[in-house]
Symmetry: C2
Subunit: 302 residues, 2 copies
Amino acid sequence: MTATATQHRIDTYPTRNNGEVKVMPREDAVVWGSASDGPLDQATLDGYDAKGYLSIDRLVSDDEVAEFHRELERLSKDPEVRADERCVIEASSQEVRSVFDVHRISPVFKRIANDPRVVDRARQLLGSDVYIHQSRVNFKPGFEGKEFMWHSDFETWHAEDGMPAPRAVSISISMTDNYSYNGPLMIMPGSHREYVSCDGATPEDNYLKSLVMQGAGTPSKQILTEFYDRYGIDVLEGQAGGAVMFDSNCMHASNGNVTPFPRSNVFIVFNSVENTIEEPYAAAKPRPEFAGSTDFTPAGQP
Amino acid sequence: MTATATQHRIDTYPTRNNGEVKVMPREDAVVWGSASDGPLDQATLDGYDAKGYLSIDRLVSDDEVAEFHRELERLSKDPEVRADERCVIEASSQEVRSVFDVHRISPVFKRIANDPRVVDRARQLLGSDVYIHQSRVNFKPGFEGKEFMWHSDFETWHAEDGMPAPRAVSISISMTDNYSYNGPLMIMPGSHREYVSCDGATPEDNYLKSLVMQGAGTPSKQILTEFYDRYGIDVLEGQAGGAVMFDSNCMHASNGNVTPFPRSNVFIVFNSVENTIEEPYAAAKPRPEFAGSTDFTPAGQP
């Protein structure tokens, strides 16, 4: 897209316009495919449409979970990975908290990110081929697991990565059991139907901070309180090997974790190939490749 | 007790001995009264004996809860209360987080702390008259409610207040609904049967810090992990107006709270009149009166 074209494009989801904060109805569909596309049945699609997420009790085997742990362990010890900007290391403990771009860095995570169990579901929800917008493995330790404040991923992907519409889905595959007490994913069910524009402008290189903490892209307390009154909160418990798929515009968060029980997961974002990213809608320059990929090759191809 | 007598007393629950950290079986009973004393029945007493806590679905009425909120509001605005060292104010927001000694400061909280619904249960559990060792009202706001690390209250009360044995019970009366997501009380059920001595020595005026954060009196991560494997975690959900009573030696904690939903409660500690406090077991001087009362007048007397 040329600079002039970018300037004149219509922005259905404006945000970070320095002060204008509002809640707008979502313009786009949530479910783009149908039950006949499989593997998700009509009831599951309807649930996803209404709540903005779906849970899968058992997506991968215990052996696969064990393999993921070994691979995360291996990556965490690899000096080359640790030195890479795609690796987030906690300053005080020197422990690895996240590794981004794992579908490129690691053969193990590349395989699961292209596995039919994952890709077919994403394809069905988005009604088209899908590509990987972002991937990562997260490790939230016991005793000191940090909280993550309420946000819609799409708001950031739109503002900072130039994703036109919320036609993207995230899958979080649990590598540990999720209890209510170890900082699991919390979603406001139904919140994906409303788009919240955020205050302020995007600071330069915001991603360097926002990968570990948050500033721009966080809705106001007042709006979050209204959303809470309207939608409530679902706490997503579930066993290791299970997964949650959630719409890119879900309002979600997680609490900290003082329990001895850690929490880790594989996280992959699929975007529709009909929704590929352009220039950022509210940032001076796009985030790096590992945060918002420009490789639109469909996932799951042989 | 004279200085010599203090020096020679036998300490069944040693702690903060600069380095010696161990787990010991509890020497004392948990339930001292019997079902015939009422109002708690045998099954409830057995549950308390085994788990170290009991829940009461409905202890006070909605009107009483509303009255507690108004009273907390009033105290939070009173300049005299705010200036008092018994009032804990969060530095950045200037919001009141806790008011201690509310059974002395406030007629409303004095009444509930001496109410038969509360006192009769405490008396039955401890098998004697009881007095108020400490009282407070806590307010944990939405969005930024802080976590509280795992600890046994008795370890602190023994070390810093000179409480001889774990013959004390806390009651937490909920002024808000407790969901798994708004930082509720978490207890390791059964942990009250073991006593964990802690590392290090008590810093002078430790209470000034430990009322808002923790240092001395926190068990090691290794012991907490072993406890978690042995006992697991119960998350204490429940409605406003309900209550939890828990043994002074329960290992308990609470997570932070990023949800919009706040959490507040009235908290009263009853100690047996046969277990009144002496010189601290592991501190240079006792904490102030509002943290460990030396008024042993039985509660609930007309």
